[in-house]
Every structure is written in C-alpha cells, then in structure tokens.
C-alpha cells in the first residue's frame, strides 16, 4: 500500500511538461484547429519519443507493455498543455490491436503507433458519432455490427480499416473545442478482422480510452485552475485584486476540491483497470474539469470568453471531453452495474 507516484513517474511527468512548455503548445493547438497539422505532427513525434504511445503497446511490437499508471501520468500532462489530435483514439487503437489473436494487425500497425509515425483515429461503440481528426489520421479503424455502449460484453463485430488521404475534402464539423476536427466516419475500407474478438478488443479500447480521457480531463482542469488563480491575483477591480473577493476565493477553493478528489480516482482506475473504476474516474474527472472551466470563464470575465486568449483552448476541451467516451450518465450507469445502457449516451 503506497498510493503515490514514484520518483521515476514524477520525473516522466516533469520531462513531458518541460517538452510541452518549450514547444509553445498553444500555437500548435491553434494551427491544428485551423487545419495546418505540420507543427502538431512534429510535436506528436516528440511526445512519442518520450515513450507516451509505447505505454499502450506490448513489448513484442516495440512498446513497453501496458503501463496504465504511466499513461495516466502522461495524459495529465497532455491535458495540462491542451495537446491536440487523436491522442486518446490512438491509445484506444493500440489497446484494441493488442488483443490476443490480432498479432498480424499488431505487427502491421503497433510499431508505428509506438514510434509516433502512425496517428490513428477510431469509430467505435462507446466513443462518439464522429471520428476525431479523421482528416489527418493515418489510419481510421471502425467497428460495425457490435452492440451499443461500452461493449464490455465482447460482442461479435467486424473491424474495418482505412488509410491514406480521404477522397475529396473531408466533411469536417466544428466542435465546441476548435482544435477538435470532427469527421463523419468513412464507410467501407479493408476488413481487418471479424468475430467476438473484435468486441473484446473494443471493450479493451474503451477501457484505455476512458482512462486516457479521464487523465487528460484532470490535466485540463488543473491548467484551468492554475491560469485562473494567476489571473485573479493580478487583475484588479475596485482597487483590489479580484482574488481577494471571498466569492472568488471560495469558488476557486471548490474547483480545487473537485480536482483533488478526481485525481485519486484517475490513478486508482489506472491501478485496477476495472470498468466501474474507469467509468467513475471518467465522469468525476470530466465533471471536475468542466466545473472548473465554468469557474475559470466566469472569473476571467469577458477576456476569458475570447478565442484569442489562450484560456479558450482548455475551456472547449473540457466541454468536449465530457461528451465523448462515455457520457456522464452512461458512466454513472456503469458504476452501478448498469453496463452503460443510457439512451442519452449514444448519439
């Protein structure tokens, strides 16, 4: 019983933080959202070099084996820096393709995932109706024929793959997070696998996606809190710092409480990888991040409501992460053993 990060994990977080701080990530996010992916792909490679994607890839395929705690550590940092792109989806794909019996697929795709060469996006039950960044991903995986919801039952299904440029201009829809480019899933493609293993793989993918999303949301919330605390210390109204008003102080205290009680759920879920724990971490981290976003916006006032001020990068992310990979209601259903049968959860 020692429920703390060890020195190596802390150092890993610090080096990722250093990399992302130095990389002027906000500028990368903005260009990604504008459809210019060069800087984002470069950043992706550097994140991969630090070993982030290898944490979801077995050693046999040039990964370091399944390391969910380290993955959570990494995704907190990705969230803190609002890193764009289908990072969660790539991890979900790695989990899916690590399913025993998919060794031919694993051999074909996973080394590229681990090295950062291959950016993957997915359209799976338990995700959402769109493929994130389908216009830039190298590979798009899609499951058909499966059940709805989290798919923990290991349903029958078919797994399809598509790669290469999309024909014509992709149908990109605007997200509440301008850095998230939502595409309608492709139809057809190459049939990669079929049968109950597809369902089992998707169930694994959803577990990893929930962990990564929860950790990312926690990081988003922490960044929102940090930036807002810094802002209210220097912003003055009525002759005093805004941060000396008790209403402001208490609202930030509440955000701090919510985030600090989400954190152990995220790491506890990484330790157990149990569906109920993952669902709990997903809903609580996302609700804490979203509540912090509301607080951050309100305490910044008008400046926070602008796209050009960097706070916006985290505000939109907090909202978007809350919606995908299991709505709040769906996750609460899973916690109570309902298997994610929430009608509202699947759009």
């Amino acid at each position: 019983m020692r429920f703390l990060l060890d020195d190596e994990q802390t150092a890993f977080a610090r080096s990722l933080d250093g990399l992302l701080t130095a990389a002027d990530t906000p500028a990368v996010v903005r260009s990604w959202g504008a459809g210019d992916h060069g800087a984002g792909r470069a950043l992706w490679s550097r994140i991969a070099e630090l070993g982030v994607f290898a944490l979801a890839v077995p050693e046999a395929y040039e990964g370091v084996g399944a390391r969910p705690v380290e993955l959570a550590v990494a995704f907190v940092e990705l969230g803190r820096h609002a890193v764009p792109g289908p990072v969660v989806e790539t991890v979900a794909a790695a989990a899916l393709l690590s399913e025993p019996g998919f060794s031919h697929l694993a051999k074909r795709f996973l080394p590229g995932v681990a090295s950062g060469e291959t950016v993957v996006t997915v359209a799976l039950p338990g995700g959402g109706p769109y493929v994130l960044d389908g216009d830039v991903a190298d590979v798009e995986l899609r499951m058909t024929g499966g059940g709805r919801g989290g798919g923990f039952g290991g349903e029958e299904g078919q797994l399809w793959g598509a790669s290469g440029a999309r024909e014509g201009s992709p149908d990109v829809r605007r997200s509440l997070d301008p850095a998230r480019r939502l595409c309608v899933p492709r139809s057809g493609g190459e049939l990669l696998a079929a049968g109950p293993r597809v369902g089992a793989g998707v169930a694994d993918a959803v577990r990893w996606a929930r962990l990564a999303t929860a950790a990312q949301a926690l990081g988003v919330g922490l960044a929102l809190l940090d930036r807002t605390v810094a802002y209210v210390k220097q912003r003055r109204q009525f002759g005093v710092p805004v941060g000396s008003f008790q209403a402001v102080r208490h609202r930030l205290a509440d955000a701090k409480i919510a985030l600090e009680f989400a954190r152990p759920l995220v790491f506890g879920a990484a330790v157990s990888m149990e569906p109920a724990d993952l669902a709990a971490a997903k809903v609580v981290a996302c609700e804490a991040a979203y509540a912090t976003a509301r607080t951050a916006l309100q305490l910044h006032g008008a400046i926070g409501y602008t796209a050009e001020y960097d706070l916006s990068l985290w505000l939109g992310r907090a909202r978007a992460l809350r919606c995908v990979w299991g709505s709040p209601g769906e996750c609460r259903g899973v916690v109570l053993g309902g298997g994610g049968d929430d009608g509202a959860g699947v759009g």
């Binding site: 209403a247 796209a307 919606c323 699947v346």
Partner: protein, 383 residues
C-alpha cells in the same frame, strides 16, 4: 391576480402570429456573428419594419406601434415561438433608444430612431475598457472639447456587434480631474467608420467575431451627438438602467420557446428518464421567468420603478439559460460537442452564446452584491 389578456391584446397576438407565420424564414439564417449573417439579419429587420413589427413598443412616429409592456411581452412570445431570427438591432433598441426617449432631444429622436428601427443603422455599445470591466466608473477614454463638438480618444473593448455595426454609443471622460470617478463623464454617439476609428474584431469562444476592440484617435463628434448635458453621462446612463430595461433585456418569450424546443428534444429521445428532472426544470424555469416578468410589469405599470430587483432577473435568466443549453447538449450525447449552427438544432451555438450571460451587463457577482445590499439590507462590506 389576473393573468388574462384583454380582447385587444388577444387580437394583437393573433395579428402578430399570422404575420410571423407568413414571413418568418423557413430555415435558420446564417449566424448573426458573421458578415453574411449580419447582412441577412439586417434585411430581416427591414422586412419587419416594413409592416411595423420591428420596434412595436416605440411610438408610431418612429415606426413603432406604441405597445405597452404587456403587448410587447405578447409580441415576444409570438416572435420566438415562431422560430424567428435573432435581433441584430438589439443594442440600439434596448440600450440607446430608451436613453434617447428619456434624455435625447426631439431632433435626435427624429434623426436616429427611424433608421435604427429599420435596421439601416445598427448600433454597437462602447462601454467597457481594458481596465474598466465591472468597475465601469474608472473609464479612461477621453472626450476633449473642440470647435462645434468633441474629439474622442482612447480604447473601448467588448463592443458587441461592433465588428459589423455602423455606429456606437458610450461614455467618455470629458473632465479629467473630478473628485469621484463617475463624475465628468459624457454620453456620446459616434460613427464606426469616422476618421480615427479602428475596429479590431474579437472572436468569442467559437471564433466568431461577436465583439470588437475600438481604438479611437481624435475622432470628431459634433455637439448634436451628445446625449444629455456634458459631464452628466453617468447619470444619463444609469437612469436608463433603472427603467424597464431589466425586463426587456431578455424576454420571457425567448426562454419559453427554448424550453418548448428542449421538451420536444426530450420527447424525441424517448423521454429519457435520467434527464427528466432537468428538462422539467427547464420548462418550469421559463414559466417562472414569464410570471416573474408579468408581476414586475404589473408593478411598473402602476408606477413603481424597477429598482434592484432587476438584479434578481439578471442572475436568474443568465444561469437558467446555461442550464437549459447544458441539458440539451447532454440529451444530444457525444454528438453534443458539435458547435455548428445548422446541426442538432443550433444548441451548440446557443450554448456558447449563453455562456456570456453571467458575465455581461453587470457580472452576476456584482448583481449578487446589489441584491445583498439593496434588497436584503446587508452591510456593504468589501467585495
């Protein structure tokens, strides 16, 4: 306690409804916060004005129908129930026009109101400055006396609609060394295309230029565009804030229509039990806001001024509006992250718009301070 409409009001409602049925565009117009959408909404104002529906509460002389508050509420109910477009002239109609009615000259009213009512001249507000947000009295932009008028210099920000509007109004410091910060301010109107004006659009959260920064460098404003006495701008601006603006800033009709759409979405989603209570609160909240407004309007019509209770109204509708949109997005599930106007009933765009509610027109923190001090009589205390 009478909630019935007079036969004349009912006839008015029927007339409005039938006009709207015949004229409201079938699809939604492009977003008001785009150049194309702005133009489309301007054209819609002209169409409304042609049949005297654009400013029903104004005197007929300026293009209105001389409607009282109740009839205005009726019109708004019908307007939003019909799914009609957002109002591009809102800033001028709800902020500048009441000021002109109270403090303007007859010449100003005759010159300014009719084109405002037709959407020919769209007005932006120019209140806030970078260092004067909630603390509005600490304005720094200057108005310096010159032959036949004033020269405006300084910076305004969060100027709603200014990216595409024609003119703007606001307060400027005309006497630099007054003992108190809200003294020595003058209320002026100016042209956004006048020499010396630079408009820098600012994108809101979804990137759309819903407001702008204004940089003013010795912008000439003739004396005829001062409202009230020079140096009395704070009083002029505040006296209008105390009129029925608290009731007209966001009409109940708007929320009743949104609540109907929410309930319909919930029905479409198979009466999802998990969101039932929140949907019900959406429906109830719109009704509460409507009845609260009717009570306030009844008091107003009996001569009671609307005072600090406008702060109750402001906090209520702004928080209600966000909760309503959050519920709708949750009903949309993972698809709810889409922010396009044309998808999923525009809930995403409406949500982004709703987020500004607790911030503008006096933050909700300021409003709660006003409620505590002026309605509950609590000691002032430091904020």
């Amino acid at each position: 306690m009478d909630l019935t409409y007079s036969p004349a009001d009912q006839a008015f409602r029927a007339e409005a409804r039938s006009w709207l049925d015949a004229h409201v565009p079938a699809g939604s117009l492009p977003s008001l916060e785009t150049e194309e959408g702005f133009a489309a909404h301007r054209a819609w104002e002209a169409e409304l004005a042609a049949d005297r529906w654009s400013v029903v509460s104004w005197p007929t002389a300026y293009g209105g129908r001389d409607c009282g508050l109740v009839r205005w509420l009726v019109f708004e109910e019908e307007y939003w129930a019909a799914g009609a477009p957002g109002r591009v002239g809102q800033n001028g109609v709800s902020l500048l026009a009441p000021t002109l009615f109270d403090h303007g000259t007859e010449e100003q009213r005759a010159r300014i109101l009719p084109p405002m009512g037709r959407g020919e001249v769209v007005w932006a507000q120019a209140w806030s400055e970078p260092e004067a947000g909630s603390d509005l009295a600490s304005l720094r932009s200057r108005a310096v006396r010159t032959a036949g008028g004033w020269l405006l210099s300084g910076q305004k920000t969060w100027s709603s609609r200014a990216a595409f509007a024609d003119r703007a109004f606001g307060l400027f410091r005309s006497e630099p060394d007054t003992p108190k910060p809200h003294q020595g301010l003058t209320y002026l109107m100016f042209d956004l295309r006048a020499p010396g004006v630079t408009v820098r659009p600012i994108g809101r959260l979804d990137g759309k230029p819903a407001f702008a920064e204004l940089f003013l460098d010795e912008v000439f404003v003739p004396d005829e565009d001062v409202i009230g006495e020079p140096g009395q701008g704070w009083r002029v601006a505040m006296s209008t804030a105390g009129n029925e603006r608290g009731l007209t800033l966001r009409s109940p009709g708007r929320f009743l229509a949104s609540a109907d759409r929410l309930a319909a979405l919930w029905e479409e989603r198979g009466r999802d039990p998990y969101t039932r209570d929140r949907v019900a609160d959406g429906v109830i909240g719109a009704r509460a806001y409507q009845l609260f407004t009717y009570a306030a309007a009844s008091r107003f019509l009996e001569g009671e001024p609307l005072g600090p209770e406008s702060s109750l109204n402001k906090v209520f509708w702004s928080e209600y509006d966000i909760a309503l949109h959050e519920t709708a997005l949750d009903l949309l599930g993972p698809g709810g992250e889409v922010a396009d106007t044309d998808g999923d009933g525009g809930w995403g765009e409406g949500y982004v718009f709703s987020l500004a509610g607790p911030i503008y027109a006096g933050t909700n923190e300021i409003q709660r301070d006003i409620i505590a001090e002026r309605l509950l009589g609590l000691p002032k205390g430091r904020r």
